[in-house]
């Protein structure tokens, strides 16, 4: 059977259905959520209670609360009880403010065995809400591959068997968009969530959320990348989710004060229009605008995070990617995003793999992808990066984890821990493009050494120790994962605060909680432990808020209003914080201030910490990080930045001239590890946690989340 619109349309077989009257949205909420049990073919509505809104706000908050109720401390990622929860948040879906169409996805992760959350663009979340559902819970496991279709226009949810004989996510998105749309004009009313064969074959599967780009006339996708959510999706035998909603007006949230939202929106649209070209150039380069900066500041991960820059870095600079992107057209992953950062490469001719010779649209590469699939592998070829980015997306595997784990494999290969015999002939040296691309295809297709690679770093470390007698300490030092999640693509060695930003993050080392490298290392604005702890309280809480609302972080500080630089707390971008307060109040009719904004986050953030605890994690020992993230592991690494490190040792009272490099590496390490312990002490104190990293009862009480089942979990650890 070939993949065609006709075949998709005729092969549809409904297994279960539910008709409903879409709940009208009131002040950002529909008040209903959709529960689907894939084992039983059950589809039913639930009521979103006032308490849920007050305590968890929405988005990730709702996801965590539903997941909490669904699982027990014994539940594993591939148990039927595990859920994938998707929710947009109360602000989600407004069109007047940039970055307001995010979906938040929560599940138990196959790589961390604990709570994972991911923030993703595309139209699904807002369309889901406007179809009447504040959240979608997917539980159970289907016997056969299924597609869930939510028709928000007619009020019908169906669980269907559809013949989709492909493991390529871009084709699944395309074909379902075409099959469910009635015309070209109708395509923008469809959004598809899907993944690819890599999600069946690895533990780092992702979810692609689609939207239709009417200018490129192409289905585009954004990724809920981190922590293997796509792997859970396929374990449930979900092939795709499709939503249809054609009634978008810009007022679907039924906001209380449209003018307030409009005013904030127009103000920032103008800022972007006036200043972006001389600030971050998000509209030209997307987040790839960071490529040159990171290389210049010794922060771009090179060869498994050993180094922070490379002379060949200029081959993958910001300018190079600008020249690759199709320019000067609207590139928002939700309506109205004037930041317009989701760049794309059109008509890219693939050189390898199952689609070799075909011309495709490639999303990005974003900064993370360019660093992960390029410099971190010692590869400085933009076309290679674009191709690897395309295949990661269509196989449905996380670019960040793929990048960081491949870098780890390469360093293992260079150190003789694994060899050609083990890799099936692949010479996985840094810089070997052909071998790296082949391994990526193997991961996507579940072949050869790709099956080992797809286990991700934590399991690979165990495997290499057990099977090949590798030194576990060395692997612990160079394997850039914490809590089971691969690091995202920034060098944190010279910024203690960022070591904490990664290490103390709830889900694992992703930079979405805190990005403090410049404030700390370059600006020297947070010199004391107390300063760093304050930053590691404020920024993670502030940034958590985006995930409660259905918002994107980028318009917060990748554009700066006029006059911001005069302000004491310029780093917080106070005017934009006020915009967020205004749009929240404008939508919901509540009257929060910037302090209550932080408290909304604190409730959810602490709840997530307790949830980790409930699953057997979430304590000090779980906030440990690999030494590669803290300092030079090897003599070679030390010597590559000898002047810097010698200077630091002198400041500590050592005489580097009289020491061997081995000695210097050792004392440097002792010092830095000690600093990290002190940082943990300071942060836990600031967050109202015990010295073991457990939220104190009084903290939970002050936040109003001291309900019995939460206290029950915490009590055992106090």
């Amino acid at each position: 059977m070939t993949l065609s619109v006709e075949n998709v349309r005729t092969s549809r077989k409904v297994l279960a259905e539910m008709e409903y009257t879409p709940a009208g949205i009131d002040k950002g909420y529909s008040g209903k959520s959709l529960y689907v049990n894939l084992s039983e073919g059950k589809i039913e509505p639930k009521t979103v209670t006032r308490e849920m809104k007050d305590i968890f706000t929405g988005g990730k908050g709702f996801g965590l609360w539903y997941l909490w109720q669904a699982v027990t401390p014994k539940t594993k990622w591939n148990d039927p009880e595990n859920e994938i929860v998707i929710s947009a948040g109360p602000i989600g879906g407004i069109t007047q403010y940039p970055g307001s169409g995010k979906s938040l996805v929560v599940t138990l992760s196959p790589t961390t065995n604990s709570i994972m959350d991911s923030n993703v663009g595309g139209y699904f979340g807002p369309y889901l809400k406007f179809s009447g559902w504040d959240a979608l819970e997917l539980q159970g496991k289907s016997a056969k591959d299924v597609v869930l279709y939510i028709d928000g226009d007619t009020g019908k949810v169906t669980l269907e068997e559809i013949e989709l004989e492909t493991g390529a996510s871009h084709l699944v998105s395309e074909i379902l968009t075409e099959a469910f749309a009635e015309s070209e004009e109708d395509k923008k009313h469809i959004s598809v969530v899907s993944t690819g064969s890599g999600a069946d074959n690895t533990l780092i599967g992702l979810l692609n959320f689609s939207w239709y780009d009417p200018r490129r006339k192409a289905v585009r996708m954004k990724q809920a990348g981190r922590g293997g959510i796509g792997t859970v999706f396929r374990d449930k035998k979900l092939k795709a989710l499709v939503v249809r909603f054609s009634g978008l007006t810009g007022k679907n949230n039924n906001p209380v004060d449209f003018g307030k939202i409009q005013k904030a929106g127009v103000k920032i649209h103008k800022e972007i229009n006036n200043f972006d070209d001389v600030q971050c150039r998000m509209r030209q380069a997307g987040t790839a605008n960071l490529m040159t900066t990171m290389n210049d500041y010794d922060l771009l991960p090179v060869m498994n995070f050993q180094y922070g820059s490379h002379p060949e870095g200029k081959k993958i600079s910001t300018e190079v990617f600008i020249s690759k992107f199709t320019q000067n057209i609207y590139d928002g992953c939700w309506y109205g995003c004037s930041m317009s950062c989701c760049k794309a490469v059109d008509d890219f001719e693939l050189k390898t793999g199952p689609f070799k010779g075909e011309k495709v649209v490639v999303d990005g590469p974003e900064y993370e992808n360019a660093a992960a699939l390029g410099s971190n592998w010692g590869i400085f070829d933009p076309d290679f990066i674009i191709e690897a980015n395309f295949y990661c997306d269509t196989y449905g595997i996380d670019t960040i984890s793929t990048g960081t784990m491949m870098a780890f494999i390469m360093e293992c290969y260079e150190n003789g821990i694994i060899d050609k015999e083990i890799t099936g002939g692949l010479e996985l040296n840094f810089g070997n493009q052909e071998a790296a691309m082949e391994l990526l295809h193997q991961m996507g297709q579940g072949r050869g050494f790709g099956k080992i690679a797809g286990l991700a770093i934590r399991r690979m470390k165990e495997f290499f120790v057990k099977e090949y007698g590798a030194d576990p300490d060395f692997l612990q030092d160079i394997g850039m994962e914490a809590k089971g999640l691969e690091y995202s693509e920034y060098l944190s060695k010279e910024s203690l605060a960022q070591q904490g930003g990664f290490g103390l993050a709830n889900k694992g080392p992703q930079h979405d909680e805190a990005w403090l490298i410049f404030m700390d290392m370059v600006n020297n604005q947070i010199p004391t432990f107390e300063d760093k702890a304050e930053a590691l309280h404020y920024f993670p809480m502030f940034r958590t808020w985006f995930g409660l609302q259905g918002l994107c972080k980028l318009p917060w500080n990748d554009i700066e209003p006029e006059g911001n630089k005069q302000l004491e707390e310029a780093n917080k971008v106070p005017e934009h914080v006020q915009n967020y307060v205004d749009i929240f109040n404008g939508v919901t009719g509540k009257n929060i201030d910037k302090e209550e904004l932080i408290r909304q986050s604190e409730r959810v953030y602490n709840f997530q910490r307790v949830f980790n605890l409930r699953m057997g994690f979430g304590k000090r020992e779980h906030d440990k990080v690999p030494y590669r993230s803290q300092g030079p592991v090897t003599v070679k690494e030390y010597e590559s930045r000898a002047e810097r490190y010698d200077g630091q040792l002198k400041e500590l009272g050592y005489d580097p001239e009289s020491m061997s490099t081995e000695e210097k590496v050792k004392v440097m390490r002792q010092h830095r590890e000690e600093m990290y312990e002190k940082l943990m002490d300071a942060v836990y104190l600031r967050r109202g946690w015990t010295n073991d990293g457990v939220p104190k009862l009084e903290t939970l009480k002050a936040l109003g989340i001291d309900f019995p089942e939460v206290v029950e979990v915490v009590k055992n650890h106090l």
């Binding site: 600030q279 500041y297 995202s488 990005w515 600006n523 972080k553 500080n557 700066e560 780093n571």
Partner: protein
């Protein structure tokens, strides 16, 4: 000597803000420069001479990747 973000940097005769940023390889497009507490606008970086012994803040406005 001058102090740049609290760290000692060698002073050069006639050093402008622009020259200092080049020397530091501070290429990021969003930097706020204060010399002895006073804001120096970007238009003046080319001409503003940093006095010997000055305390310079070159604050990179980025708190997010």
């Amino acid at each position: 000597m001058i102090l740049v973000n609290g760290k000692e940097v060698e002073y050069e005769e006639g050093m402008t803000v622009k020259r200092l940023l080049e020397k530091m390889n501070y290429t990021f497009p969003m930097i706020i420069v204060r010399v002895d507490g006073k804001l120096v606008n970007k238009e003046d970086w080319d001409t503003f001479k940093i006095p010997r012994g000055a305390k310079v803040q070159a604050l990179h406005q980025i708190a997010g990747g």
